[in-house]
Symmetry: C2
């Protein structure tokens, strides 16, 4: 087993945007155009989009893409996995020299959007991983989101900014304790189930 834990802090997210609409192509392309992705490496194929770089930019870009799609008013969802510290990862395809300033902060801040989200944190390679998971579930209780349990995931309801803030905090803090961390999420907005 290769073990380069701790030597590489390239973060990434493999995600897919799902507009439940006949206009899905336009919604996806417009969101990708409106969002400034110049501080991350990005690759899109027919299954998903992968972005890589600093944690702050990975979350800035995924949140902005979701918000720009949701503001169309269509029922949209996004599923993905954030990852950091995989021992099998390479140094390729990464923009780690960028400054910390997120590029989409202002544009995203202008969009208010309620959403529901389920996420799960997976600290890998550690026998005490459940402790890290329980700590993060506790943490998320105080961030302006409603937290509830479900099988295999923690549910967050609230404003999209608060949801992504909670997930970013959980991911950030878990990766400070455990080298290889992944975090899955599915977030949905404008569902007719909620109207």
């Amino acid at each position: 087993m290769k073990n380069v834990c701790g030597t590489s802090r390239i973060a990434g997210c493999q995600f897919t945007l799902f507009p439940m609409s006949n206009q899905f192509v336009e919604i996806i392309l417009t969101a990708l155009e409106e969002v400034d992705t110049s501080k991350v490496w990005k690759d899109t194929d027919d299954v998903s989009t992968c972005v890589r770089g600093r944690i702050v930019h990975i979350f800035d870009v995924t949140k902005a893409i979701f918000l720009h799609a949701a503001k169309t008013g269509e029922h949209v969802a996004m599923s993905g996995t954030f990852s950091i510290g995989c021992p099998g990862d390479t140094d390729a395809d990464v923009y780690m020299d960028e400054t910390e300033e997120p590029l989409n902060k202002e544009l995203s801040a202008s969009i208010t959007q309620q959403a529901g989200c389920k996420f799960a944190l997976y600290p890998l390679g550690r026998e005490d991983y459940m402790d890290t998971i329980y700590q993060q579930i506790d943490l998320s209780k105080s961030r302006g989101v409603t937290v509830s349990g479900s099988h295999y995931a923690t549910r967050l309801d609230g404003d999209v900014h608060a949801i992504f803030h909670t997930m970013q905090d959980a991911f950030q803090q878990a990766q400070e304790e455990v080298s290889h961390v992944t975090m899955t999420f599915t977030i949905t907005a404008n569902s007719p189930s909620n109207k």
Copy 2:
């Protein structure tokens, strides 16, 4: 930390079906109606559907729901996480007394559908987890699917039956070695990118 590893082999999947169509409600409801879910526990909310029970039925049901949605010809996708052996899991909401015979085998077999899929396997609580991951990536090379690497995931292309068969094998074998295993996937069919 609670540790009940090995005492519970209830499998589950938290997944969402995404039809990229104005008819998304009808497509989801029709797929859920046509698929026989009587051998699994099932709960659906506005974010996702959770099914729990034996491994064979979890895969039978998720594959059948995807196939029935895909046969509409619309661009449809499904994202989810399979899970087994979580130390925080309960004995609730489970149908473990069902026989092994999958209920949707014949109906699913009548549907032929090409798809692309990315999946990732996460064996938890073990320092040697990368060995299990590498073994399963090797395994999937010989199952009638085209296997390719991507950041954070393994890509499978081929018939939906072969894709789910490969994922079920990887999950089944990983959980024989490691008590707590999760496996994420995103599968997509009828994408206009492929036309």
